[in-house]
């Protein structure tokens, strides 16, 4: 998939590109709005990561331009301004998601994948985890056709790990993803541990879950060979 990264902070653009390349995306970078505008007019992109704080361009104008050129690109806005109006305006203009800086690269990837699933209408919503099946459409977990009773937070946590399968997710990354909307002063890594503990208890009641690994000193990972 083709991604255009519109970001005036060169080293950040480079890091995002490096990460996405390792995830098999094709990346293009534009450091200015003018540059981005030209690239959008010439190339076809699946995704455009758009920083709103461009020095030479009103970032939201790029969305309007792209829409005029009948571009199919999905926009994910990334901004450090974090003002509520920006978010609303961006989504109104047809941006597909909104990410406040600083964000975890894993989080960016999940958002891109989520948009991609919607866009390309991925038909199979079921993911096998050993003897368990996760249905990401109905947001439910099943064991031999019987629903496993999980709380909303437990499910969110598990799904985030599943969708980033085979990657280690740090506690703070998980916390940020699940409780990012709560405006608190500290993250309790304890929160994540408690939820994982409860999650394991509920799943182990049906079958052992060796695929849900604790990575010492870092966080958690779901390891499954496909």
């Amino acid at each position: 998939m083709n991604v255009l990264i519109v970001e005036d902070e060169k080293s950040l653009a480079a890091e995002i590109a490096e990460f996405l390349k390792s995830e098999n995306f094709l990346c293009d970078i534009a450091y200015t709005g003018t540059d981005a505008s030209e690239k959008i007019a010439v190339n076809l992109y699946d995704f455009i990561l758009l920083d709103l704080g461009l020095p030479d361009y009103e970032g939201l104008d790029l969305i309007r331009e792209a829409r005029k050129n009948n571009s199919e690109a999905s926009f994910i806005i990334i901004t450090a301004r974090g003002a509520v109006e920006d978010k609303v305006k961006g989504l109104d203009l047809g941006a597909d998601d909104y990410l406040a800086k600083p964000f975890a690269l894993i989080e960016l990837l999940s958002r891109i994948n989520a948009v991609a699933r919607r866009k390309f209408n991925v038909t199979d919503p079921e993911i096998r985890l050993g003897d368990f099946i996760m249905n990401i459409q109905s947001r439910k977990m099943f064991f031999s056709n019987k629903e496993v009773d999980l709380t909303k937070k437990e499910y969110d946590l598990l799904q985030y790990l599943v969708l980033n399968m085979n990657k280690v997710l740090a506690r703070h990354q998980l916390y940020e993803h699940i409780w990012g909307n709560i405006l608190d002063d500290q993250y309790d890594s304890n929160f994540i541990d408690v939820h994982i503990k409860n999650l394991r208890k509920k799943l182990n009641f049906h079958a052992p879950t060796p695929w849900l690994e604790t990575v010492r000193g870092v966080g958690y990972r779901i390891s499954l060979e496909n």
Partner: protein
């Protein structure tokens, strides 16, 4: 008391006072006027008598050799004239009050005594007027006056009151304009229609002030946006670099752990900057307040989120939320954060002996939520600094920056919720949220 009532009260009091003084003084005034009038009458009568004597001589009244006197009363004994011979040491010409016995009846008279000579013989002329008639007139005048004054008071008071009300109407309008708004941009800028220059000036001054405050708000907003950009961009770069580093294969576990620790520290920095920005944004009114939602639902949502962690630490969370309140014109995510921070804080500092109680009730007609824990409690000094930024109970115990309660406080202020703490060291802490 409202200005118009004060003015009216002053108005009626001064009127009554002046009227009272006037009524008290009136008898004396009327008496003076009456006496002067009576005296003038007496002098006029004397002149008439004297001119008659000059014309026809004294004989028709009194013979020069006899000793009898001449007297004349009218039938109602209101007036009399008497003329008699007299041997006086000096000439008399004065008016006095005196009582006379007339036909067995003693009557107060105003009497003019006048002496004159005819052919070397001295005569004394007395012209009298009964004071009864004078007092009668005075009484009548007083009655009429009293009625008239009451009438005047009523009429002037009602006109004054209505006119003051009319005059002060622009002031009422200005006050209403101020009462209605919660922030300067909501101030009604249409000028108040009045010809009173004071009110025009007041209205203009208020409008200018609102413009000025709004400009400052906007400036602060711009600064916040710029600072957040400047601070968060480098954090963002650093974070992505470290995350990419961590994804490298065959990374030495020691290096990997150090990178993860750096990321954690960076995340703390990020949370801190975001918290400060959040407070700045709330204080410069960058959040909308236009949702209407149930407080009970918010609290129950928080309890269900925190209870797994509380349970793990063997701390009970007691839901005693019996009454609900639909909070109007509010921001749900902010209210959620406010309660979340306080309840989470209670869980963090509570001992596991007795539970944290979250209760709702109507206290003095105002919806009140209390969160009480039985933790280590707070001293008076700690309570004072509890809601300020970066003040923690036990200095540095690694449990956060202590900014959570500052966030809660700014959210409460933003929503006009009164937030308060009661605590004693050793016996726990109780937070109050009193809704507007």
């Amino acid at each position: 008391m409202k200005l118009k009532f004060k003015l009216s009260l002053f108005n009626i009091l001064t009127k009554v006072a002046f009227t009272g003084i006037f009524l008290a003084l009136m008898p004396f005034i009327i008496e003076r006027i009456n006496l002067t009038q009576a005296d003038n009458d007496l002098i006029k009568k004397r002149e008439q008598v004297i001119s008659q004597i000059a014309e026809i001589g004294i004989e028709p009244f009194i013979t020069s050799d006899s000793s009898e006197a001449f007297g004349s009363y009218n039938i109602l004994k209101e007036e009399f004239i008497s003329l008699e011979r007299a041997d006086l040491d000096q000439d008399w010409n004065f008016i006095e009050m005196t009582s006379r016995l007339i036909e067995g009846e003693e009557i107060e008279f105003r009497v003019l005594n006048y002496s004159f000579r005819v052919d070397g013989q001295m005569y004394l002329l007395e012209v009298g007027k009964s004071l009864d008639s004078i007092e009668h007139t005075a009484r009548n005048i007083r009655k009429v006056m009293l009625l008239f004054l009451v009438f005047i008071i009523v009429v002037t008071f009602t006109t004054d009151f209505n006119y003051t009300r009319h005059l002060l109407r622009p002031l009422d309008k200005i006050i209403r304009k101020l009462k209605l708004i919660s922030e300067p941009s909501a101030f009604d800028r249409t000028p108040v229609r009045t010809t009173t220059s004071d009110f025009l000036q007041l209205d203009n001054a208020l409008r200018d002030m609102m413009d000025h405050i709004e400009k400052l708000f906007r400036k602060e907003k711009d600064i916040t946006v710029n600072i957040s950009h400047e601070l968060l961009t480098p954090v963002s770069v650093l974070r992505s670099k470290l995350e990419n580093l961590l994804l490298k294969e065959n990374l030495d576990p020691d290096v990997s752990r150090k990178v993860e620790e750096s990321l954690k520290t960076l995340f703390r920095l990020q949370s801190l900057v975001n918290s400060l920005l959040l407070i700045a944004r709330i204080e410069s009114h960058q959040y909308l307040r236009e949702e209407s939602f149930s407080i009970k639902e918010v609290l129950q949502e928080i309890i269900s989120e925190i209870s797994p962690v509380a349970l793990d630490a063997e701390i009970g969370l007691m839901d005693e939320i019996t009454t609900d309140h639909i909070f109007d014109k509010a921001n749900r995510p902010l209210i959620f954060s406010m309660f979340y921070n306080v309840i989470n804080n209670a869980v963090r500092y509570s001992s596991s002996v007795s539970p944290i109680v979250i209760r709702s009730e109507y206290h003095k007609n105002r919806y009140t939520v209390t969160v009480s824990d039985s933790g280590i409690g707070l001293s008076q000094d700690q309570i004072k600094t509890l809601f300020s930024r970066f003040k923690m109970r036990n200095e540095n115990n690694g449990k956060g920056t202590g900014i959570g309660l500052a966030i809660a406080k700014s959210i409460a202020d933003f929503h006009h919720i009164f937030i308060n703490v009661e605590s004693k060291p050793g016996s726990g802490t109780k937070f109050y949220f009193i809704f507007p």
